[in-house]
Symmetry: C2
Subunit: 115 residues, 2 copies
DNA sequence: TTATCATATGATAAACTGTTCATATGTTGA
DNA sequence: TCAACATATGAACAGTTTATCATATGATAA
């Protein structure tokens, strides 16, 4: 870890910014949220569920992916509690389970929409 | 691509959700933004610059990474216009260049802070 | 209870990502 | 002009991620 040695850093600036940083655990949580949304398949899934609940099969069509690939990604989103599911007979319906993520997506949508 | 065949999909629901989806280009842009923030080093850099501008060397200290690693990540953030830089002699100062990203981060911070 | 259907899961291969190391660039002061 | 320094960059390697394939599970209807 060849971090630059003491000569060049402005210790006071660094110290102050250091204090302004969230704790590592919160940084890690933020990374996890962004990571969840940083894959096109997962983002499409969440965008689709923003509209309404859907079964795995329909989600697969909407994402142009195999049922299996979608199921894997749904498991990740489920583990993160971004989506939830309910069974109706053979069919599993998925829907959004995290309003914060909805806000994040809405904000990023606004961002890309006008630029 | 063994997408589920016509039997199981609810064509009407799928059609409507399809129409609600952003265009692929915008989805791709959203993915890029989230991807930029989904690495701990890059997120820490942006969080640090949220406080004030810093030189590469100080950023490296703040991220507990080598100057080189940080420089690589700064290039990515620069390419995405999330940060900008200005030279002062030998030293290169980096700062935030995208207010939307600031809002996204602030929102995700609020999210992780109270949960 | 058995066949079929919708979904889930484990293993694998391919692609991607991030750090490191070596080296290059550009700036300053001697 | 040269040495020293801050930063940048290219190549390579390790670790991670994602889709696929094969198979498993759980539910329904015959």
């Amino acid at each position: 870890m060849d971090v630059c040695d003491v000569r060049c850093i402005d210790e006071e600036k660094v110290r102050k910014t250091q204090q302004s940083l969230p704790c590592n655990e919160n940084i890690s949580r933020m990374v996890d949220i962004f990571k969840a949304l940083s894959d096109p398949t997962r983002l499409k899934i969440v965008l689709a569920l923003l509209n309404r609940e859907h079964c795995v099969c329909d989600i697969a069509v909407l994402c142009s992916q195999s049922d299996s690939a979608v199921s894997h990604q749904l498991r990740i989103l489920r583990t993160m509690k971004i989506v939830k599911n309910r069974r109706q007979g053979k069919i599993m319906y998925y829907s959004i389970n995290d309003d914060h993520v909805v806000s994040l997506i809405q904000m990023s949508l606004d961002h890309v929409a006008h630029c």
